[in-house]
């Protein structure tokens, strides 16, 4: 089977998505020494270099340390073929299952293997299917369980002992899942359905100039909008943020071509608004708003943006290479960006997206005049009460029409023969969207 030419290979400096069964993680492959931790397992990433994205690797135990909460294992990764990947169920070939579970008594003694036995087994044979086979063999109740119950048992064990990881290229789809699952607060609670609708309602696409204010989504919102603006198109994004440094992780992870990266102009909200209202202010440093905004940690040299300061070992092309002169000589990067942004602000925008932790009302008052008539606006908040007030203000102002305040109900389904039902748990918060169209 030949590898498709269009599949890119894993490079140093890339952000990668590591997937172990349903668990996914965004990881920076910053150097050959880089490791990644999945629960108690530490993976050496070295062997990923130059392998195609989408490949599956086998976790091979290199070392086991006993930690506070059980054994910590160190693994190397070995590229493996697709044929190695068979479902555990197939391997075990389980067929006989009880009709129901009426004869099962849960006395905690169903498993004959002790936990020390299992730990030993784990070191001896690295293959999850073998470990599970042993567990099943030594289970007194497995064969009297219902098929449903067997499946549940196997899935649980497989999750614990599964020894393969897949390396995937980050996309908006994969990242919103990872961020939302790991810590929804870090992306302001923007759920996948809500993100998808922000993209729709804002109308962001390959043509036009777009304005975004967000108070911190790990770069997810600017990344999603740049993704929709696309490579080799005419679209531009002005990305306003309240901190000294824009959060850009998701944007960097997309590894966009340079020309596309440069069409994302990230500026501090206060700084760029002052420049817009008062003309060029090269003598004013963006440190001013920092007195106001304490959420971002201030880098050592507050007069220059350092988006890579958090992970200094990255080797990807520096965004700062664009400015013609070196640091601390000519205009600083943020000054150039402010200038580009104010030019676009004077031309006005084709859409406005606001995803604020703050009350959106005053932000809209400042940014709505920068939007052309007959253009969509989208305001996100986790707090419905704030959007209710904003809804009433906009309605009264007459500047925006077709106002809608919406939220979503998203439910996933288990669809299996004879076992189809909605998933038992669902996420409760989609957040809220206020949408409308500007008027002349």
């Amino acid at each position: 089977m030949s590898t498709d030419v269009t599949t890119p290979n894993i490079q140093l400096g890339d952000y990668i998505v590591i997937q172990r069964q349903k668990y996914t993680k965004l990881q920076k492959f910053g150097s050959l020494d880089a490791t990644s931790t999945l629960g108690k397992e530490t993976l050496e990433l070295k062997s990923l270099l130059d392998q195609p994205y989408g490949s599956t690797f086998k976790m091979c135990v290199k070392e086991t340390k006993s930690g506070k909460r059980g054994a910590q294992r160190h693994h190397t990764l070995e590229l493996c073929s697709d044929t190695e990947l068979r479902s555990t169920r197939e391997v075990l070939g389980i067929s006989s299952s009880g009709a129901d579970n009426r004869d099962i008594c849960d006395n905690g003694e169903a498993q004959a293997l002790k936990s020390s036995d299992i730990e030993q087994l784990r070191e001896a044979c690295n293959e999850s299917s073998k470990i599970i086979e042993k567990l099943v063999e030594n289970s007194k109740t497995f064969h009297t369980r219902t098929e449903y119950s067997q499946e549940k048992y196997l899935l649980k064990k497989e999750k614990k002992y599964f020894e393969f990881v897949q390396i995937r290229q980050p996309t908006i789809r994969l990242m919103v899942d990872i961020f939302y699952r790991q810590d929804a607060e870090k992306i302001m609670g923007i759920r996948v359905d809500t993100l998808s609708q922000i993209i729709s309602y804002s109308g962001v696409c390959g043509f036009g100039n777009y304005l975004l204010y967000e108070s911190g989504t790990n770069g997810l919102l600017p990344a999603a909008m740049m993704n929709s603006i696309g490579a080799d198109t005419e679209g531009t994004l002005v990305h306003m943020h309240p901190g000294n440094v824009p959060q850009k992780q998701a944007l960097l992870a997309l590894k966009l071509p340079l020309e596309q990266q440069q069409r994302c102009v990230s500026v501090n909200l206060y700084s760029v608004l002052r420049e817009f209202y008062q003309g060029e202010t090269t003598s004013v440093s963006p440190a001013e708003p920092s007195a106001v905004e304490a959420e971002e940690t201030l880098p050592e040299t507050p007069t220059e943006e350092q988006p890579e300061a958090v992970e200094p070992s990255t080797k990807k092309p520096k965004l700062d290479e664009a400015p013609p002169r070196g640091n601390n000589k000519g205009p600083l990067r943020w000054q150039l960006e402010n200038k580009r942004a104010t030019t676009l602000m004077h031309e006005k925008f084709d859409s406005l997206v606001v995803a604020a932790k703050e009350h959106p009302s005053s932000i809209l008052q400042a940014l709505l005049p920068l939007v052309r008539p007959s253009r969509p606006i989208v305001v996100f908040s986790t707090c419905k009460e704030l959007l209710q007030e904003t809804f009433m203000e906009l309605k009264t102002s007459g500047k925006v029409t077709a106002l809608h305040l919406t939220s979503n109900w998203l439910r996933t389904y288990q669809i299996l023969p004879n076992r189809t039902h909605p998933e038992v748990n669902m996420s409760g918060n989609s957040g809220y969207l206020l949408t409308g169209f500007t008027l002349k």
């Binding site: 206060y270 008062q278 202010t281 932000i363 009460e385």
Partner: protein, 316 residues
Amino acid sequence: MSFLKPKTHIEQGDIVILYLSVNSMHAIEAVPTIVNKKGETIQHVFQTNYGSLKVESIIGVEYGSRVELSKGWANVLQPTPELWTQTLPHRTQIIYTPDISMILHQLEVRPGAVVIESGTGSGSLSHYILRALKPTGHLHTFDFHEARADQARDEFKRHGFATYVSVYHRDVCNLGFSTELDGAADAVFLDLPAPDLAVPHAFKALKLSGGRFCSFSPCIEQSQRCIQELTKLGFNEICSMEVLQQESVIKTRSLPVIDLEFLKLPKTNESSTPNAEETKTPKELKKYLTSSNPQTLPGHTGFLTFATLPPNIPKA
């Protein structure tokens, strides 16, 4: 005996709900001593996150009172089926108040009703049915698991329901509800892996004047087969639904409001204008009484299928 009717004071032997917080409550038996694993009779001391409670001390106390724990306090409440459902020992997956309420409503359970339930499970639904049909009705409840049936029988007795309930250990899918119950029931409730197998038995057990039927199933295929069987036997008003309760989290939130108007003023004026104070703190906090969903909601409990057996359907 604290389930039978409203009462004011804790008596020995009552089940009492020790309420610590929304997420922490316990059902305890108000007895001064218990027998430990070694067979010794010892003082009944109950451990909580807020310290221990000498259970003897709550006997005679008025329900609704505050009782002291060694490291805090709790309230003692008289158990209701709602509180019991949140504290009962799980022997199986149980059904909760929103589904149960709909089941009782749709089955039209009221004092005097004769109801058949299968399976008994942990008795969560049984307690609600018993509250609704006592003191003039009767519950016939079936479980195919012998230990569970025995546990439930014992529990109902201790809770004061002995005269209103009969507990059977029986595989109703294969054996039916017994001929004594033919034409005896106003309502039949099924929570079984294969409800369709028990539908013909439900049909027989319902009164000739008709009655109501309900099946609770996690999977849609169970409902599909159940409905096929119901249709075949002449049930009507067949209706399937899902009920999901959503809790609102109420809190007062302090939310930031930023001022951007000051940016329109030239910066040099800043220190000389009377507004200087204001421009230095363009972010203020405003309080809002807010309501939001919890991070995780119940996405599915089960499909409820209801049906009516019309009057005078021949059962031969």
